[in-house]
């Protein structure tokens, strides 16, 4: 890598000389040059590419050693790396040929980061805390700017800074550019600290939204400085205030518009799925540029664009596009961040800009810290009186300490007009120093501080369905309480928004298929199922072969879409498994996917195991035991030992087979996802040994198992009816001999409809509407064996048995 750097320097210094070659080559008309060195031809892109490469190498180097990155945040190391590079270039060139120019920074490096931020913003958290965030962003920033400017001016008047020519207005201008907390720096530092999510969103949200204020303040004071002190009167000040609203709200609105546009587009891109990701990047960038063009807040614009389109994009686009977008955005954002920090380092090594004024620099640092803390404490005290969940004192300290300044401030400083502001270099230097201080020093000490203060850390959330259900219940409860008490509270508004959104926006912006699958709870459920499936296949592979999957195709999720043709469901299951681009990403759900064997391998590596511990545990405990044993002991002789599991398997097979049969009838609605964890609980509950002896009962249990093994079983009074169909099914010879020779099993149960009288249960209304002819639970059966009750004894709250006839 050093070679690269040296090459860079050589190249840059050699560049002037190359032109001679060019000229030389051009004038040489005597022959054809077989190979010529055409530096100028490629100079710009080449340099850009090499620099990017160098930055990435730097990151590679730094990340190679995790021990160091534990203590020192990556951003600090990158800056140091930039120092080194800058030193080398300086040494080679005696002049700093490369530095972070505002154009490059604001137009190329910043937008990807902001787009990524908006796109992966946790919306719910953000909007819940929006009040606090806004207060901090607006009032806090104004406070910072004002106090810094005024204090510095006061000190200047007091003579602490020696002889520099900065007037009050310029101080205020300087204050306004130093005031803003920088999102890039905040991400970089907080990313390694993992504080609790509320704290993070407060600091981070503030850093994003204060761009609106910063832009306005900077422009206003810039204009004032240009106009001179005399031209300021009330009118100008009012104009300044108005411009704040215009800039901030205009920027956000623009972002929303672009976000909606994007979502609308994504609704129509069914046929060009390969380009879908492109739309996001281009439109996101356009929203940034449009805001810049209209002198609105570009950061706000691009962030809100991302926030707005998240949900719709993720629902509308297909699996691959979503992953591509997410990943590519991270690549760009990370790359940009790396480059920003490296260049921040490089820019320092430039003798031309260095002006040192102890008073100015030290005082700036001091005031920034002090006023940040004061501001945070005051504002939070005010906020806590209205917040449901107060912000703790420790959190406030971290918020204050997390007021990091970064590249945005530097970019603004470099943009200062030298003719109007004579001390521009001083300001640039101070800004750089402040940035280094905050990023390096505060970054390094942030983690120890967090640990020392015992700040509440982010919890690794294990999603459980119960929690989700309960959260929803609570939501409804709160809305109810508000309704009853006649108050309009947060929950009421949120509910109204949700209704509005569902009714109008979703209809407009989501594809019809996506709209049907919106239910949150169901999403969680599906996600968990997918994880199970992946774990399952992973386990299977580990144990040697997935052959059993191919034979027992029933264990795989069914890929069903509304109206899909199921005729080839049976023989094609195996083909499907090979061909499908299964939706392996746990969060996506456009089609209920099968587990594609090839895809899953790649995704296995990417899959984090932390989630779904319960499911995993269950799988390990129950599912695999059964399967493995089954695989090895399918012979009749071993039946007595592993009766339970084997029977589970068999029944399950039969169930699946008949299910697939019923699919063929083509009357299916959306098929339920297959939850493989089903086998599990049956095991303990099947005190089955007796079952074998009594044919009747074992028949019941069989059915019970089949029910248990299918998507959901439950032992309540929910009456359902088994409608087995006769059919080929997967004739798996491995299983047939396993069938217990007891009589009911000889007759394929699904043929013996007449024998069903034992458990006359009716499908619920809902089930009838959705899945006629589908396999239903015979939950009551289990209780039959256990408690001796028959189905008839239990109350049947739902439609009476006669309904069955419809489905036979």
């Amino acid at each position: 890598m050093m070679i690269l750097v040296l090459l860079l320097c050589c190249v840059s210094s050699a560049a002037p000389q190359e032109s001679h070659h060019e000229h030389g080559g051009g004038h040489n008309a005597t022959g054809i040059a077989i190979v010529s060195f055409k530096w100028h031809h490629v100079e710009s892109p080449y340099l850009v590419a090499v620099w990017i490469l160098v930055c990435f190498f730097g990151k590679l180097l730094i990340e190679a050693n995790h021990k160091i990155t534990n203590y020192i945040p990556e951003s600090a190391l990158l800056i140091c790396f930039g120092f080194i590079l800058g030193g080398i270039v300086w040494g080679a060139d005696k002049v700093q040929t490369f530095k972070l120019t505002p154009t490059v920074f604001f137009f190329y490096l910043l937008p990807p980061i902001m787009l990524d931020t908006g796109y992966s913003m946790p919306n719910k958290l953000f909007f819940t805390n929006l009040g606090a965030i806004l207060i901090h962003a607006v009032i806090g920033t104004v406070w910072n700017a004002a106090t810094l400017g005024l204090s510095l001016w006061g000190c200047h008047q007091g003579g602490a800074m020696g002889n520099i020519e900065i007037g009050l207005l310029q101080y205020l201008l300087y204050g306004s550019l130093m005031a803003a907390v920088d999102p890039v720096a905040v991400i970089a530092v907080f990313e390694q600290v993992h504080v609790n999510e509320v704290l993070f969103i407060l600091v981070f949200g503030e850093s994003l939204l204060n761009d609106g204020v910063t832009v306005v303040l900077f422009n206003v004071f810039d204009a004032f400085v240009s106009l001179g002190g005399g031209a300021i009167d009330a009118k100008e000040i009012i104009k300044g205030i108005v411009s704040f609203f215009v800039v901030a709200f205009g920027g956000s609105l623009l972002g929303f518009v672009f976000g909606l546009l994007m979502s609308l587009l994504s609704r129509c891109t069914k046929n060009v799925q390969i380009i879908e990701p492109g739309f996001i990047f281009v439109l996101g960038y356009l929203s940034y540029l449009t805001a810049e063009m209209l002198s609105l807040s570009s950061i706000l614009s691009v962030v809100f664009c991302g926030i707005c389109c998240q949900k719709y994009m993720n629902s509308n686009m297909n699996e691959n596009s979503i992953q591509t977008v997410r990943y590519a955005m991270k690549v760009f954002a990370n790359g940009s961040e790396t480059m920003i920090f490296v260049f921040l380092g490089i820019s320092a090594i430039d003798k031309a800009i260095w002006v040192w004024n102890t008073g100015f620099i030290l005082l700036t640092l001091l005031f920034i810290l002090i006023y940040r803390f004061i501001g945070v404490f005051i504002l939070t005290w005010m906020l806590n009186r209205y917040r449901l969940v107060p912000i703790s004192f420790v959190d406030q300290i971290i918020m204050g300490y997390g007021g990091l300044r970064g590249a945005v401030a530097y970019g603004l400083a470099v943009n200062l007009n030298e003719s109007k502001i004579k001390e521009k270099n001083l300001m640039v230097c101070t800004t750089l120093l402040v940035v280094y201080f905050t990023v390096i020093l505060q970054g390094v000490t942030m983690k120890p501080l967090v640990q020392w203060l015992k700040v509440k850390r982010a919890e690794i959330a294990e999603i459980t369905l119960i929690e989700k259900v309960q959260n929803k219940v609570f939501d409804h409860m709160l809305i109810a309480i508000e309704d009853i008490s006649g108050q309009i509270g947060d929950n009421y508004m949120r509910n109204k928004w949700r209704n509005f959104e569902e009714k109008w926006m979703s209809r407009l912006l989501l594809k019809p298929s996506a709209r049907k699958q919106q239910d949150h709870l169901y999403n969680v459920f599906h996600q968990l199922n997918l994880q199970d499936a992946m774990e399952y296949v992973k386990e299977g592979e580990r144990r040697g072969s997935l052959e059993f999957i191919r034979n027992e195709s029933a264990f795989v999720d069914f890929k069903k879409k509304l109206g899909e043709d199921y005729e080839e469901a049976m023989p094609d299951i195996m083909a499907d498994m090979a061909n499908d681009q299964g939706g392996a990403s746990a969060l996506r759900r456009d089609v209920l996917p099968t587990v594609s064997l090839e895809m899953h391998e790649q995704n296995m590596r990417g899959l984090r195991e932390a989630e779904g511990i319960n499911a995993h545990h269950l799988l390990d405990q129950h599912l695999y035991k059964g399967r493995k044993q089954h695989r090895y002991r399918y012979s009749r002789s071993h039946l007595d030992i592993n009766q339970d599991e084997n029977e589970v398997q068999e029944i399950f097979q039969r169930t699946m087979r008949s299910r697939l049969e019923s699919f063929k009838s083509g009357k299916m609605g959306v098929a339920p996802p297959k939850t493989i964890t089903k086998h599990t609980k049956r095991e303990p509950q099947t005190k089955m040994p007796n079952g074998k002896n009594k044919p009747y009962h074992s028949g019941d249990e069989d059915f019970e198992f089949s029910e248990g093994d299918s998507a959901s079983g439950y032992d309540t009074s929910f009456p359902t009816r088994v409608t087995y169909r006769a059919g080929a099914g997967i004739e798996n010879p491995a299983f047939m001999p396993d069938l217990d020779p007891s009589s009911p099993l000889h007759i394929p149960p699904w043929l013996a409809d007449a024998g069903m009288e034992v458990n006359p249960v009716a499908p619920s209304e809902r089930a009838q509407v959705r899945t006629p002819g589908y396999l239903h639970r015979l939950s009551s059966l289990r209780t039959n064996t256990r408690s001796g009750e028959t189905a008839q004894d239990r109350d049947l709250p739902t439609p009476p048995p006669h309904r069955d006839d419809d489905h036979l």
Partner: protein, 171 residues
């Protein structure tokens, strides 16, 4: 406790809800107010009908006052049950939302009913059952296929119930 202004407002609201001006609310009145709420009936049952059929104004206020975001939040999640009313701690109230027959366990049917009420129509029966199944699995520690109160509470230990059950209106 509750300020006078709030009391006045609540009283007005009470009178508004009390359609037959009987001085106390019947469950129908409350349910009418919650007609849009998917689990309105349950909520009414769980909160407002602890043994009595009608809710008079003092009880009304007392019950609503339980949702105030007061010291509860600051002292963590140990809410002392108020001996004055029959309201127990928030998690048991939540539990009762599911467990309508009050047998101390949430059976699969009960869970299923709640789910059915809360989930949209586009979720099929099988999916509902799968969800219920899975939910029970996750919480179920004693393998009895129902969720008893302890399991319920344990599965919700990450959820700060007090924070969740605060409504910002009775300041």
């Amino acid at each position: 406790s509750v300020s006078a202004a709030h009391l006045l407002r609540l009283h007005q609201r009470f009178q508004l809800l009390d359609k037959d001006s009987s001085g106390s609310l019947r469950s129908e009145d409350l349910e009418a107010a919650l007609s849009e709420n998917p689990i309105g009936v349950r909520i009414v049952g769980a909160f407002f009908q602890l043994g009595q059929e009608m809710v008079d104004f003092p009880s009304f206020v007392r019950i609503l006052a339980h949702f105030r975001p007061t010291e509860k939040n600051r002292t963590g999640d140990g809410v002392q049950p108020d001996p004055g009313t029959q309201m127990k701690c928030p998690s048991s109230v939540a539990f009762q939302l599911y467990d309508r027959d009050r047998d101390g366990k949430i059976s699969r049917t009960e869970l299923l009913q709640v789910l059915r009420e809360m989930l949209g129509l586009q979720v099929t029966e099988e999916q509902l059952q799968s969800i219920a199944e899975r939910a029970i699995q996750e919480a179920n520690l004693d393998r009895d296929d129902t969720i008893c109160f302890d399991e319920f509470r344990k599965s919700l230990e990450k959820v700060n119930i007090n924070h969740k059950l605060s409504v910002r209106f009775l300041e």
